[in-house]
């Protein structure tokens, strides 16, 4: 039974991860940055699920782990957005490059 090789999934995950990373590093809108991070997490999930199917010890662990990841991602999105809104209320902007309070 010939099927899609593991490499193909990994490659897809890699591409998505890179896109997410690029977005997270270069986009100025904080919301988009958050979304990009979600994309990166998704790419990792693909890897986890793919390894659940193709690996030396296949099993459900990968899938379960991806479920946890999704949960954490959801929590992260919620908190991230809350922080964003709090910040927006104080500084009237969502541009990441205007948030440089770390320097001060």
């Amino acid at each position: 039974m010939s099927s899609v090789p593991l490499t193909a999934y990994l490659m897809l995950a890699l591409i998505l991860f890179c896109i997410g990373l690029f977005g997270a590093l270069t986009k100025r809108n904080a919301v988009i940055v958050l979304i990009s991070i979600e994309l990166m997490l998704n790419a990792v999930n693909i890897n986890l699920v793919a390894f659940a199917k193709y690996s030396l010890n296949p099993g459900l662990t990968g899938q379960v782990f991806s479920l946890f990841t999704i949960t954490v991602a959801a929590a992260e999105a919620a908190v991230g957005l809350a922080i964003l809104i709090a910040l927006y209320r104080n500084r009237q902007t969502v541009n990441v490059d205007e948030m440089d309070t770390m320097k001060r």
Binding site: A24, L25, V33, V96, D97, M99, D100, M102, K103, R104
Partner: protein, 622 residues
């Protein structure tokens, strides 16, 4: 008497120290300190000479410091050659001290002048007494210091400042040659001692090329000190110093030190035919070269200065042509008649307050002691028979001819003609004819000045009889007691040589008479006939200008290059490093911009670099 000869240079040193202490004293009797102490030196020197004349000699040495197993020694030695030099130096020094008492009268720094004279005499006597090359070299430099101080005595005159500097630097160039020669000899022989060097040469411990090299290096020292070509230019400029100084240092003693050096190291030169030839050629060329410049100078002291250069060339020629005795003989006679000429010139200058011969004339009657004395000197230097110059010059010509250097012989003859001509040009222009400048209040110098001149005048006449074919060759016998083996002890050249020399001298005097006294030949006859040549000669063959354009400009150019290099390349490199560090730190602080994304970017960049290194080095992953 000889045991006390170490005191000879110390008297003038004492004089120097005392006079420096009393430098502020306005009492001109301080001069007597110098005169008396130099007199004491002279007495001791004369005693030493007498002792040596009877075949005595002394050499005392002690360790100066220890260099490994070798002891560097210091001491003193009296041998025939340096005993003669001692007498000449201390005598001329004594006479000049005396003369200066009158000449420097009223000078603000009267005592300082005598202090410097004392310092110079100390150095010169020390030089002569040295038993080894190192000690000689040390005094050699100190002599240069004395010369420097005295040339620059009128420190406020820019010309004197330049001349003093030039004298020191030019002789220093020669000194470096001497230094190299001396050090090379030391490593070949293992000692600076004359004796050991000579015995090493005798035993053939040195290769021929090393002999030639060291001899020429040492001769370079002599070139510098004795104003030989091509390092002669400082000597005429040195005339900026007070005239007694010119008489003492730049006529009789220090400039003769070069000749003395070659004579003292004569066995070394004898061992190398090439070196001797170099000495002879340099001497011969200098003789005619300087004489030609002397023909057209207008400054009374400069004429004499070029004459000195020329006569020193004669001495070198003699030494180079194996005429050891002839060279020393001429040194002796020249010391007296040239010192006489300078002192007489000083007396003239003292009277008319100018050095330009165009502004003199008709002084014979007003200066009725100086005039005849100057005439004696001029006759002596021209080589008129029965005066000292005749015998010594004759001897030089003889030995040159006997040595087979015919080209140099004829050069010397022509130079003799020129000598006679320019000396009498000087004499006629200064003492005869009509006064050309204002000569108010011209009077003969005081007796304190004329007395030394009279002594020298007598010596200029009689010194020649030290070594004559008629009365006896006292000097030859005397010098042959020394360490130098006289190869051709007596040069019996052709009999016609004295006649040629006399004829040439008379011809020169006659021509000078025709031009400057009778006026039967126009004065600018030469200038008109050979305009190019005379222009070149008048400007001293453009040697100074040539040096200025090449060596001086070259050195300053190099210096500017160095400054440029220092400022732009080295400082630039430093500035480059500094700005590099600054740029790096600025970059670092800009990276710290407080934006999370930037930090993330750099973190990723670093991670990727690490991964790249790991991947390329085949590290963790493979």
């Amino acid at each position: 008497m000889l045991q006390m000869s170490w005191l000879i240079p110390l008297f003038p040193l004492l004089s120097f120290i005392l006079l420096v202490v009393f430098r502020k004293s306005s009492n001109e009797n301080t001069a007597w300190i110098g005169v008396l102490l130099t007199g004491a030196s002279f007495v001791l020197s004369f005693g030493a000479w007498l002792a040596v004349w009877q075949g005595d000699g002394i050499k005392v040495e002690g360790t100066w410091f220890q260099l490994g197993e070798r002891a560097i020694t210091m001491g003193y030695e009296v041998n025939p050659l340096n005993a003669l030099m001692l007498v000449i130096v201390s005598l001329v020094s004594l006479l000049v001290h005396l003369y200066s008492k009158g000449y420097m009268h009223g000078d603000e720094r009267f005592s300082v002048f005598f202090a410097y004279l004392g310092l110079f005499s100390f150095a010169m006597l020390g030089l002569v007494l040295s038993p080894n090359l190192l000690q000689l070299y040390m005094f050699w430099e100190l002599v240069g210091l004395g010369s420097f101080l005295l040339i620059g005595f009128y420190y406020f005159k820019p010309e004197a400042k330049a001349a003093a500097k030039k004298a020191f630097v030019m002789t220093r160039i020669g000194d470096v040659g001497l230094f190299i020669g001396m050090v090379l000899l030391f490593w070949q022989v293992g000692s600076f001692e004359y004796d050991e060097i000579f015995s090493a040469i005798k035993n053939g411990e040195l290769s021929q090329s090393m002999l030639t090299l060291t001899a020429i290096c040492i001769f370079v020292g002599a070139i510098g000190k004795s104003g030989q070509l091509p390092l002669h230019t400082w000597l005429p400029d040195a005339m900026e110093g007070p005239t007694p100084v010119s008489a003492l240092i730049h006529a009789a003693t220090m400039v003769a030190a070069g000749v003395y050096l070659v004579a003292a190291m004569y066995p070394l030169f004898q061992a190398s035919e090439t070196a001797l030839t170099v000495v002879a050629v340099v001497g011969g060329v200098t003789a005619i070269f300087a004489a030609s410049i002397g023909l057209m100078q207008k400054d009374i002291k400069r004429v004499l200065a070029y004459s000195t250069v020329s006569q020193l060339g004669y001495m070198m020629l003699a030494l180079g042509a194996s005429g050891y005795v002839a060279g020393i003989f001429h040194l002796t006679t020249h010391a007296f008649f040239k010192a006489l000429l300078f002192l007489a010139a000083g007396s003239v200058i003292h009277a008319v307050h100018t050095q330009n011969i165009e502004e003199m004339g008709g002084l014979w009657k007003k200066l009725n002691i100086t005039g005849p004395l100057f005439l004696i000197g001029a006759l002596a230097i021209s080589g008129i028979p029965l005066l000292s110059g005749f015998f010594s010059k004759d001897e030089i010509l003889m030995s040159t001819y006997a040595d087979g250097k015919y080209g140099l012989f004829w050069i010397a003859v022509i130079a003799a003609f020129m000598t006679a001509f320019y000396m009498f040009r000087l004499f006629f222009l200064v003492f005869t004819g009509k006064p050309r400048g204002s000569q108010k209040g011209v009077h003969e110098s005081p007796s304190v000045m004329t007395l030394p001149m009279i002594v020298l005048g007598v010596l200029a006449v009689v010194a020649g009889y030290l070594n004559t074919p008629w009365f006896g060759t006292f000097l030859t016998d005397y010098l042959s007691q020394g360490p130098v083996e006289l190869l051709h002890a007596d040069h019996h050249g052709p009999v016609w040589i004295p006649f040629v020399a006399t004829a040439v001298a008379l011809l020169g005097i006659g021509l000078a008479y025709m031009i400057y006294q009778k006026g039967s030949v126009s004065r600018d006859w030469l200038t008109r006939t050979f305009p190019g040549l005379s222009h070149v000669i008048y400007n001293k063959w453009f040697v100074d200008e040539g040096y200025d354009r090449t060596v001086v400009k070259g050195t300053t150019g190099l210096s500017w290059l160095g400054v440029w290099f220092d400022k732009y390349v080295i400082e630039g490199l430093v500035a480059g490093v500094v700005s590099g560090v600054q740029a790096l730190s600025r970059l670092g602080s800009e990276m710290q911009n407080g934006q999370v994304q930037s930090y993330g970017t750099f973190a990723i960049f670093g991670l990727v670099l690490l991964l790249l290194i790991a991947a390329l080095s085949g590290g963790y992953f493979s």
